[in-house]
Amino acid sequence: MSELFPRKQVMGFLFSLLLTAVALAVYFFDMSYAAGMTILLVTAFVQAGLQLVVFMHAGETKDKGAIYTNVYYGVFIALVTIFGTLLCMIWGYV
């Protein structure tokens, strides 16, 4: 039975619950916007990385390079889209 619960994945799961608990701090404690956003950015991206490496087996085959390049490219375009939009729609640099 225990072979069905590999240590790596159990630890990954516990760590993801811990990250969720840390992120909840921004709700339960009074803190500045900057401090709250820093906590959320760190916990969200660590959580995403954890899923990618522990659960999605991203680095397992010889396609590792292609898979990571593709993910980084997707994330890069995502960040450019989001921050580009913020830059011209919210922060006012038209």
Binding site: E3, L4, F5, P6, Q9, G12, F13, S16, L17, T20, A23, L24, V26, Y27, M31, Y33, G36, M37, L40, L41, T43, A44, Q47, A48, Q51, L52, V54, F55, M56, H57, A58, E60, T61, K62, D63, A66, I67, N70, V71, Y73, G74, V75, I77, A78, L79, T81, I82, G84, T85, L86, M89, I90
Partner: protein, 198 residues
């Protein structure tokens, strides 16, 4: 078809390996899809008009339930793939079943949340904020709904045909999709709900 027995079943042919790579490329496109939704959300989050703001309508209990249920389902499908690699079909199908049940539980909470929003006057047409909120949440929820049916059909195939290179490959790709939905939810949880309630 050349089968390499040194690799896990889902990668055992070149076609299978390339299908996994192809699915990662699809997930790259999905990242960008959700990025456009988040970009619109951050632009419109303060355009509440006469409607409520996020802080007025978000409640921590259902959001936390959804998060824990989805995180757990991401864990159980990971265990399902692990069991598949041990060629334990029964354990694999059980883990997949638990995953899909948790997915259904997530959807139940989300649907009741949507009903609640509409009930308190935060429908799709109330303000720019509520419309992008419900569009972003709804796009994720639609993905979960699709995933539940997809997973169900995969389970049926594994049950009927057993663990072959094809069914193992399909199951593994489905697990990638499911983990990805969990990743998207983490960003919704952090940057829509928690940021809104901060």
């Amino acid at each position: 078809m050349k089968i390499d027995h040194s690799l896990p079943l889902e990668y055992s042919t070149e076609e299978n390996r390339l299908k996994v790579l192809g699915f990662w490329i699809f997930l790259g496109a999905e990242i960008m899809l959700f990025a456009t939704l988040f970009a619109s959300y951050f632009t419109l989050v303060n355009r509440t008009g006469n409607g409520p703001a996020g802080a007025d309508i978000f409640e921590i209990t259902p959001v936390l339930m959804e998060t824990i249920v989805l995180l757990t389902s991401s864990f159980t499908i990971g265990l399902g793939v692990h069991a598949m690699r041990l060629r334990n079909k029964k354990a694999m199908l059980s883990f997949f079943a638990v995953t899909l049940l948790l997915g259904a539980g997530f959807l139940a909470v989300e649907i009741s949340e949507f009903v609640h929003y509409v009930h308190i006057g935060a429908g799709l047409q109330t303000s720019a904020f509520t419309s992008i909120l419900l569009t972003t949440l709804g796009t994720h929820g639609a993905h979960v709904t699709l995933g539940i049916f997809w997973g169900l059909f995969i389970m049926l195939q594994v049950k009927q045909r057993g663990l072959t290179p094809e069914t193992a490959n399909k199951s593994f790709i489905f697990s990638l999709y499911w983990h990805f939905l969990d990743v998207v939810w983490i960003f919704i949880f952090s940057f829509i709900y928690l940021k809104g309630m901060m």
